[in-house]
Symmetry: C2
Subunit: 404 residues, 2 copies
């Protein structure tokens, strides 16, 4: 008789955003006359930029003729896109990353969930708290998290690194030594950023203790201040300890187009084995390449026109971020983030729990946000709003909040 | 210090098709004047059908306007495509599969590699021999295969079900009882088909011993004879024992477009736990949906125009299949397949090993095929050619084979 993966049964409840979706749906069914503003899930709302649309149409036309048709893509990605990323995201910043260290994928969520597969199940992971749930949940599924304590909302084998107002939402080095360290900066969900000097400390630490940093740079394009690293490879020594995850979702609006990349420097080794080889084997065996037309769209992100149009798109969202930040401040909330990230992190008022505030905000202002506790125990009492709505909706949401 | 997944180190050599790619590249570099005909990897060559191209352009245009832009897709797929598949592939054939039992993905390779994740590592798998390498390799990576015996080319914990000329390339029920049974019909690599009565035996067996059948139906569109099941759900009782994998690669030329689906009936349970719930959780946590534009292209496959155009495309490839089958027969080869599948399976001549024949064919006829031994020990002494080339190349290839 077949046996299921029992680790799945340890997962409490369902995936955070599915739960939110169901709650919102139920509210809308009960109140069909109300207009709900969604500032919860980090989904973009602006259409794809014209340069990307052009690239997509061109690529579709290529698929219509035998001479220019593209079948299976190279498992690891087309050279044109790997090179565009290596040059545009790394070499242009003085970072030593080559095209063959870039692995193209269908998105950073998949990569951040799959990357743990190339590590043994006996590795100990450390995560920021609060944190993007995928890092923890996928390690639970793989049997790496131990047992769940519902009262504390923690896993016995996971090292939590609290990010609170006290440390300005940037964690301290953990007391217990981890093997795998998940870091995401600019941060989801808190919107906090890390300075290059701070990140260098993490790189030095990882090299010292022999840990791998899985660095999620999905929000890099939103950095507006100097001194904030756009990639972990700006730090010395990162090539021997860091994997970087890149997304096209937030810098180019590809949430529904699906494109991402994982960078694994060839210097990152366990004894003689490079992680580069293991990930290449994983990709070659369990993945079949991102669609040609999508990779061509990705290439357009690095074109002159694409860059200019996407800069405008990001400016649009960052105007929303400032609107939310200021709106909440004016309404008396304690608020952070929104400066180098599309996320605004606020303290729930009057000792409300995160989910109480979720219900309160949905009920009284018809605004959907994300409960901080959904991201981990230190997120309790906090709440995330995103800048990805339309400007009109964002202004309207702040108006509603002012009135409650 | 971090530890790697040691299971990866057990894998011998690299992924079959990567090895072939490298060999062909080396040959072409050494013989730049020779024209190589590729009938090796199962990649299509015909351009996308007009109905699909139209759907792609339309969907791209939708992505260009805020009002019709699509961000994150539902994790499990858009309702329009799930319904089109449930109706077109199942209900139209009298099979009881509903839209919410269809999980859309970016391809059957990913699904066939990922599906094992929802099962415990202590399950025993059984595979046909020869077999598509992904089934075995992904179980090796998960630690389910035991140790490798290089002399026998077998894994200690895998049950092999030989498919040879003696059983007409359809396996007998295994002597040892498996927990997970991988079946693929019409078969890759042998091109053999299974009758409905034969498949019913497997379904009855699986229900009796409590095994799950993972049924890969990627080549279903190539069935030309009556009495051959197009889906395992044509068999009674399949809803309590079978998962089906569907691909858009071979029926619609989506190898570079990337779309597939996994069907998990809600009746398929381990105690009270449905596999449907586990796969939904896996998809929701580790996957972020197939691209909107690709799902719209998938919908076009089920339109009137799409169906008519794709029937022509399949007829084109099947003409190639007959050309290869007859060409090889005429040249004195022992050959099977090619009737309900785009694969032709031939016995290597003169006691040559599969790889010897690979080199021989590349050297003397500049034809790339796939060595049967790459698919498992019982594939030794066999060789696979595919019908996915152009008709002109297929005819030319047979001409070359006649002359060696």
């Amino acid at each position: 008789m077949f046996k299921i993966n029992e680790n799945y049964l340890k997962l409490p409840g369902s995936y955070l955003f599915s739960t939110i979706g169901r709650k919102v749906e139920a509210y809308m069914e009960a109140h069909p006359d109300q207009s709900v503003i969604r500032l919860g899930i980090g989904d973009v709302t602006q259409p794809l930029a014209p340069a990307i649309i052009d690239a997509l149409h061109l690529a579709v036309d290529e698929m219509a003729e035998a001479e220019t048709f593209h079948g299976y893509a190279p498992d690891l990605g087309y050279e044109f896109l790997r090179r565009a990323m290596a040059e545009g995201d790394y070499q242009a910043r003085g970072c030593e990353i080559t095209a063959d260290e870039v692995f193209i994928s269908d998105g950073a969520k998949c990569d951040s969930g799959n990357i743990q597969e190339i590590f043994g199940t006996d590795n100990k992971i450390a995560v920021c708290d609060p944190v993007y749930p995928v890092y923890v949940d996928t390690n639970v599924m793989a049997g790496r998290a131990g047992t769940y304590d519902p009262a504390a909302d923690t896993w016995s084998d996971v090292i939590y690194m609290p990010c609170t107002a006290k440390n300005n939402f940037v964690p301290e080095l953990p007391k217990e030594t981890p093997d795998l360290l998940y870091l995401c900066f600019p941060n989801n969900p808190t919107g906090s950023a890390i300075t290059k000097a701070q990140l260098q400390e993490w790189v030095d630490y990882a090299n010292k203790v022999g840990a791998v940093i899985i660095y999620d740079a999905a929000y890099e394009a939103y950095i507006s201040e100097p001194g904030i690293p756009h990639t972990i490879y700006e730090c010395e020594g990162a090539r021997t300890c860091a994997i970087e995850l890149r997304s096209f979702s937030k810098n180019a609006g590809f949430t529904g187009v699906r494109l991402g990349a994982t960078i694994i420097p060839k210097d990152l080794k366990c004894g003689e084995i490079t992680l580069h080889t293991l990930w290449a084997r994983r990709h070659g065996t369990k993945y079949n390449g991102a669609p040609y037309i999508v990779q061509k769209a990705g290439e357009a992100v690095y074109s002159q026109a694409g860059k200019a149009q996407l800069a405008e798109q990001i400016a649009y969202y960052m105007k929303n971020a400032r609107t939310i930040y200021q709106g909440l401040k004016d309404a008396g909330y304690q608020v952070s983030g929104g400066m180098n990230a599309p996320y605004i992190w606020l303290k729930t008022p009057g000792q409300m729990t995160s989910w109480e505030f979720f219900d309160f905000l949905l009920e009284h202002a018809q605004i959907v946000g994300t409960p901080g506790s959904g991201f981990g125990p230190s997120g309790e009492g906090y709440f995330r709003l995103t800048a990805f709505g339309s400007y009109e909706n964002t202004v309207a949401a702040m108006e509603r909040i002012r009135q409650i």
